[in-house]
């Protein structure tokens, strides 16, 4: 293992360890906030696999988040499935959805891909509303009356407990982050980056770029779905607003802010934006202006985001 490789794994281990050990230091409010951030950061990590490493911008990722959310939530709501099987079902639903969607949508690229994702996302949102009888539509539904514990290896943890939320969120986040790290540092990951840089050239190196992009989209959608399923289980709510276009724009914002194409960027971006919005809300009613302003600042002065800029200037070894 080369030194830079060791340094990379150490850095990620350190970040995860810090999150694990920080628990006693976090006041209750921030404790649960960080748990929320970790779940939403998973969503951004998934988004980043597609945007940051494969160069495909999507405006329909809320569809995958919602697939995971409903894939986990509906079986709990209707059949009382346990938390872990529900998580697995949610992940499976989003993986299947992303793969099927990719088969169709990846025939396009660039701006056309972006619009196709947006259209499918919108159609999916409307579908959730329309089949209200089953999905409970815009009102959504609550899981805490059906499922109260997380059963792992015979032990039952109370899902209402902040510590369970935090550690479960951290667990899912660790898996997603390390999976994304493993992927982007693998030979396949290198191919994805090559596609981002120059797809035509990559094809002539003997790579089936369609399949590679399909893989990236599937992994990306699956991680987003894992985030959705985890959100449903930990925060007990499933609703169609998570499939709206605004919810597709968020991971784009988080990823760009933290640094697209850096493994830790999504976490940084999600956390910063989460707190930025909270504090902006204390200052102005129109706190979404902050979202707009951050997007403009990023595009104009920091297109590579925080960690991307740091990597360019100081630490080229950052993955």
């Amino acid at each position: 293992m080369s030194t830079s490789s060791a340094r990379i794994w150490l850095l990620h281990a350190a970040v995860l360890l810090a999150l694990l050990l920080a628990q006693p230091l976090l006041p209750e409010y921030h404790y649960v906030n960080v748990a929320r951030i970790l779940v939403l950061a998973c969503y951004a990590v998934g988004y980043n696999v597609l945007l940051g490493y494969t160069g495909l911008m999507s405006l329909g990722h809320a569809m995958f988040f919602a697939l995971g959310m409903y894939g986990a939530g509906l079986p709990v709501y209707y059949h009382g499935v346990g938390a872990l099987p529900a998580l697995a079902l949610g992940v499976a639903a989003s993986a299947l959805g992303a793969a099927l969607f990719g088969l169709i949508a990846l025939r396009t690229r660039g701006v056309a891909f972006l619009i196709v994702t947006m259209m499918f996302g919108q159609a999916f949102h409307l579908t959730l509303l329309h089949f209200n009888v089953y999905t409970l539509g815009d009102q959504g539904f609550i899981l805490s009356e059906t499922i109260r514990t997380l059963d792992v290896a015979g032990a039952a943890f109370d899902l209402a407990d902040s510590r369970v939320k935090y550690n479960a969120a951290l667990g899912v986040f660790s898996v997603c982050l390390l999976a994304s790290l493993l992927l982007v540092r693998s030979p396949v990951g290198r191919v994805l980056v090559a596609i981002r840089e120059n797809e035509d050239r990559t094809r002539l190196l003997g790579y089936n770029t369609y399949l590679a992009r399909l893989l990236a989209l599937t992994v990306s959608g699956t991680i987003a779905g894992a985030a959705g399923a985890t959100y449903a289980l930990l925060f007990s709510y499933v609703g169609a607003s998570f499939a709206s276009i605004l919810h597709s724009i968020y991971p784009l914002l988080w990823t760009l802010l933290g640094g697209a194409g850096t493994t830790l960027g999504p976490l940084l971006g999600t956390g910063l934006m989460f707190y930025l919005e909270i504090y902006a809300r204390d200052l102005t009613t129109a706190y979404l202006v902050v979202v707009g302003a951050v997007l403009l600042v990023l595009v104009l002065w920091a297109p590579r985001g925080i960690l991307g800029t740091l990597r360019d200037r100081k630490a080229r070894w950052l993955p």
Binding site: P27, V32, G137, Q139, G140, S236, T285
Partner: protein, 445 residues
């Protein structure tokens, strides 16, 4: 429901703690901080814990300042502030001043839950209150239950009474959609006709109307001639009107969101004078001036109102007092800006809910956000049977069903006459009752 007709402050009738608490509250109100000691005996709270606890009662206020609910949210906020100011004039809650801690939820369920989190854990409020839109209520309720913080919603959704939420969620200040429909359906069929066509938004709120009205119509021997669901993104409505069969006697409509005016106007354009009787929910026109261009078509149609927008239509001293305190003029618009029309039919819920909280706190002897105090508060509130009409409950008397955590009240049917809403019928509370489907009191705390 108690028989007393309180002038300034009404009280609920059931609790034994009532007299003590009132005396305590008055005393504190008169004597200020020094009288804090007078409360020490209330509800058997140990004296040691109460030391220095003249801190304000902090009530977290989850409000739709942005997003699709913002029109309601603005008036909810004004009403809540007016109610809090009045409560403080009266000496506060159990002698302690009330402080509202408002936070925008963006009319978004995800943010709603985060706001509950912030209010409960960072702001350390005693209760959370105020939400209207049902998806925000449903998104926020689980977290409130987990944090074991009493959560008072002002939503008119049926979700509280349906038993879907948890024991910490109450709706003591506004009636739910199901009871509203149940109450007015009888009048509608008796006076306008029994062949009813319905137009409603194609999402959950509309489905409540579709299901409960259909049931009520069929129970009353009528028929539903058409159920027309309008997509949430629609901006033009004329094309839907041909679906209304010619033999329809009553057209029942309910819409929410910014498209409602267009809807009503196009309905008028389409039918002209050859229209069936029209009965709608005022939700379609909350915050909208009745003098808006195109609304003249509504002349002669009927609307459900929970609280009559037009002054003098439900002429009680309490209503007049309330109207003045929230700053609403005779036509339902803000006194300061006649174009700024209130959400009069819903926002009284914020006022009444705060008073319900006041009464529950005072009668339960609640002091601090501890499990024991919260338990006492919840059990006390569940023991309430209703609220008397008065300044604290200006919309009218309420029956409270502790099993459902839901109140029931009178409803109004108004006729549009030259741009004014004139009340033609007032329902009795009994008209709005339905078979309860839940019992929260059996749930664990």
């Amino acid at each position: 429901m108690g028989a007393s007709r309180g002038g300034d402050e009404s009280t609920s009738s059931s609790s034994q703690a009532r007299r003590i608490s009132r005396r305590g509250a008055l005393k504190t109100g008169l004597a200020g901080a020094a009288a804090g000691a007078g409360l020490l005996t209330v509800g058997g709270i140990p004296a040691a814990r109460a030391a220095g606890s003249d801190r304000p009662i902090r009530i977290g206020f989850q409000v739709h300042r942005t997003g699709i609910g913002a029109v309601y949210g603005r008036w909810y906020e004004r009403t809540a502030n007016a109610a809090a100011a009045y409560i403080n004039e009266l000496g506060g809650i159990a002698g302690r001043p009330v402080e509202l801690v408002a936070e925008d939820d963006g009319t978004d369920p995800r943010r709603g839950a985060e706001v509950v989190e912030k209010l409960a854990t960072r702001e350390q409020v005693d209760f959370v209150y105020g939400t209207l839109f049902s998806h925000v209520v449903i998104g926020s309720a689980p977290r409130a239950g987990e944090l074991k913080i009493p959560y008072f919603v002002v939503s008119e959704g049926y979700h509280v009474a349906s038993g879907k939420l948890n024991r910490y969620v109450f709706q003591p200040g506004i009636t739910d959609v199901r009871s509203q429909i149940t109450a007015v359906a009888g009048w509608m069929m008796g006076n306008l006709g029994k062949k009813v066509a319905m137009i409603f938004p194609d999402y959950a709120f509309g489905y409540d109307h579709r299901d409960f009205l259909s049931a009520a119509v069929e129970a009353g021997g009528g028929t539903v001639t058409a159920r027309i669901a309008i997509p949430p993104t629609e901006t033009a409505y004329s094309k839907y009107f041909p679906r209304i069969p010619a033999d329809t006697e009553v057209l029942y409509h309910v819409m929410v969101g910014p498209g409602v005016l267009t809807f009503v106007r196009e309905m008028g354009e389409h039918f002209g004078s050859r229209r069936p009787a029209v009965f709608g929910f005022v939700d379609s026109l909350e915050g909208v001036p009745m003098t808006s261009p195109g609304l003249e078509f509504l002349d002669g149609t009927y609307l459900w109102e929970a609280m009559p927008r037009q002054a003098g239509q439900y002429d009680t001293p309490h209503e007049r007092f309330y109207r003045e305190r929230v700053g609403v003029g005779p036509d339902g618009a803000s006194i300061r800006d006649p174009k700024d029309v209130s959400t009069y039919s819903h926002m009284f819920g914020c006022w009444e809910t705060l008073f319900a909280i006041k009464e529950a706190v005072e009668q339960s002897g609640y002091r601090d956000p501890t499990p024991a105090d919260r338990k006492a508060l919840i059990e006390t509130l569940e023991g309430f049977h209703g609220f008397n009409e008065g300044r604290s409950h200006p919309q009218g008397p309420k029956v409270f069903d502790g099993r459902l955590h839901q109140c029931f009240g009178q409803q109004f049917v108004s006729k549009v006459n030259a741009g004014k809403l004139e009340v033609v019928h007032r329902t009795a509370i009994e008209d709005s009752r339905y078979e309860p489907a839940a019992d929260y009191t059996k749930m664990a705390l």
